[in-house]
Symmetry: C2
Subunit: 406 residues, 2 copies
């Protein structure tokens, strides 16, 4: 297949590109490299030394003889360029990772809120619009998030996208229907994924686009089979307070002797998936395209759920790190349960990698190897969800210790 | 109260501004005049000769001694200007009309789809974002549409925003919850109003903004008590295939001896409200603000429902016009029922104006008076919902007759 990977320079997009290239597909990465620019804005860098996309694809070719093509296009801003590109290349499938994906970054300031909404809505809508305009019948696979469900605690397992409900009619009967799971996003970022869902629903209905939406949990780990092949194929590893995600952050914190920062009681239950499973799921989703006229196919791309404090304890036990509870910069329930349906990928053949399987050690090794590159001042999570929270949150456990001393 | 009327130069915004000014409120219209520009783009003009906003407000002052202030701001593009304006003027309430509001226009081409999404999402999000940023605790009243419900035909009356559903839990019990009515928009325009809903839900939850969303039916009529006071206070009257709405279109069609164009069987049931009731509803909604922390308050701003073909027959009977059935440029069910809950406004004191009440004659008079200004070539509805429909739709009944002759 000819596959366009939008956002293929990112944390999940890059190993996905390698994985699908390895399987013989013709891969075209489209990316505006905004994520690299945001690193510059925030004054952080990937823990792992990450080469330019041009250099990475050169190494891949050198190692495997396979070409991954790169095209610098801003999906949100270059509608005509995107449309012409699609019309010229006519990919069979499109994997869409190309959005601003950090909840804390999306809450940083009014400017960041606007950027996230405009970038994500325009990227997704431009893509759908262009596909219809040129009559491209490609299978579109989009990366959504478990966060669209808002960790609702009605006491039912979170289904894969659609919720069966009973609605009382005027004659007093109950009609059973499946509806798109009621959205309850917890940040501007998560909200944009809810907006995406409505865009997908509309374009699937009005224009028969074939769309799969993957509601992904938090991705952990860094290596996949392909990124291990050469030092310069290494994947990015975000550890900062905005882009670093909880498990990877605990691992780097322990590697540099920084306290494991748990927000609130750590009673939040989150859904997880290893990066290797993430790329495998995308492969499986690509092979299982909906038909024209079908509703959007939704998968929960999740392998296990854990409470944040349990993860912190697990990492502390493995590494001897110290746990510190900090005020939560997010506006969310202090404690929540989370049970997630995820049968569809299992049926398609996914054999989930779990935290128990030794891959934690691999991440600890990566973290230790590159610990010298860490800027400790970028570790705390400082983006607060509201101005009130911002005033109460003292997010730096190191400062706290200094204060206690002085 | 000091009230900002966003989109106050438009069809509903202008009479609302007059109505609220008449009641003694301090009125500030914010508008980018994009609707006037779209008239220019489409090569159409309001049936009624409509003065500039500056001239209209001058006349209002001359007639009543009251000032309506006008500020040229693009909500979608001038975030900082908007923010500074709000910070300086601190309105008590904001009425938000400022969106691209024609479904056919939103489906015209890929450019129009993008424009509608970007304009509407950015306008609404910029506003919410700015309110939070400057800590403005104003009551926000937004004009939504009945179209967010997608005229769902589950056999239940359409509730005012929230649907009670039963959800089965893992223990087999049924939990009853109220959810935002599942969105099922029928056009890009309607979809943007569904996106708005999610934005409102998020900002009400995360930032305690006080928001009322009015799901309005199709507005008919042209005069209100205030627009009648002076020839130059006259409201706009759209009759073209994109902006003209069904009942007003039938009335102008009959006034110029043009066939009454019914799409498909005319079996679509739509919700209606007279312009005088529309402005009255906004007054009532303003006086009934939710408290900080409340969920978004949603009203159905509708007074009656009718099948399109019944309306055509009513107008034909009144005026002797001829009905012609044309292929439907929209993608929608040929026939639908529609029963709408609308108790909240009645409870607040609305006494609905109905079609039966003689106001149809008033519109016919306006239509006849200005019939000389009509461009017949702009009457057909030519924006098709998909490229397939575009090929089958011959939307011009006059051409058809010419063809039959030649
Ligand atoms: N990483 C996770 O834990 C996680 C969890 C759930 C869902 N997701 C989703 O998976 C996708 C990929 O996540 P990631 O961690 O790889 O993110 P990332 O930020 O590392 O990668 C996103 C890529 O998209 C590019 N991009 C952003 N906006 C663009 C635009 N307008 N035009 C072109 N390119 C653009 C960026 O430059 C970047 O390379 C995202 O959509 C994200 O929301 C990620
Ligand atoms: N007219 C109807 O039948 C009807 C029915 C249901 C809902 N509504 C809703 O009511 C509202 C008003 O409808 P209307 O018929 O008066 O529409 P309109 O097009 O006549 O008025 C909208 C006004 O908003 C302005 N505007 C648009 N984008 C703007 C921006 N980015 N910045 C500043 N100003 C902007 C336009 O210039 C225009 O003056 C709309 O939101 C519409 O969706 C209307």
């Amino acid at each position: 297949m000819k596959i366009a990977i939008l956002g293929g320079d990112g944390f999940v997009g890059w190993p996905t590109s390698l994985h699908l290239s390895d399987q013989g597909h013709e891969i075209h990465i489209i990316d505006n490299l905004s994520r690299r620019w945001i690193d510059t804005e925030l004054g952080v860098q990937s823990l792992t030394p990450m080469d330019s996309i041009q250099e990475r694809t050169r190494i891949w070719h050198q190692e495997t003889g396979k070409r991954i093509h790169f095209h610098l296009i801003d999906l949100a801003k270059d509608y005509d360029v995107l449309k012409n590109w699609l019309a010229e290349h006519k990919p069979d499938a499109i994997v869409h990772f190309a959005e601003q994906r950090a909840a804390p970054y999306s809450m940083k300031s009014d400017r960041h809120k606007n950027y996230t909404v405009n970038n994500n809505v325009s990227a997704t809508h431009n893509l759908l619009n262009a596909m219809v305009e040129i009559g491209l019948d490609a299978h579109l696979v989009h990366l959504g998030t478990m966060g669209v469900y808002g960790y609702s605690t009605v006491g039912a397992a979170i289904p894969e996208g659609y919720l069966p409900v009973g609605i009382e009619t005027m004659t007093g009967d109950t009609v059973n229907q499946e509806i798109l799971y009621p959205a309850n996003p917890g940040s501007i970022y998560h909200m944009t994924k809810c907006l995406d869902q409505l865009l997908f629903q509309f374009y699937a209905k009005n224009d028969q686009l074939r769309i799969t939406d993957l509601h992904q949990g938090i991705v952990w780990g860094t290596h996949t089979e392909q990124t291990r092949r050469h030092e310069q194929l290494i994947n990015r590893f975000d550890y900062d307070g905005d882009y670093g995600t909880v498990l990877n952050r605990f691992l780097i914190q322990s590697a540099i002797g920084y306290p494991l920062t748990v927000h609130g009681t750590g009673g939040q239950t989150r859904a997880f998936i290893h990066i290797q499973d993430s790329v495998r799921c995308i492969e499986l989703a690509l092979a299982d395209a909906p038909a024209a006229g079908d509703r959007v196919k939704i998968f929960n791309q999740v392998t296990e759920t854990h409470r944040v404090r349990d993860l912190a304890e697990l990492v502390a036990k493995l590494t001897g790190g110290e746990i510190v509870n900090l005020p939560n910069p997010r506006k969310e329930a202090a404690e929540n349960d989370l049970i997630v349906d995820r049968e569809q990928f299992i049926k398609l053949g996914l054999k989930p990698i779990t935290l128990a399987e030794g891959l934690l050690e691999e991440v600890i090794e990566v973290a230790k190897k590159y610990a010298y590159r860490v800027d400790r001042s970028r570790v705390p999570a400082s983006s607060a969800w509201t101005k009130e929270i911002a005033q109460t949150v003292d997010t730096d456990p190191e400062k706290k210790r200094l204060k206690a001393v002085s």
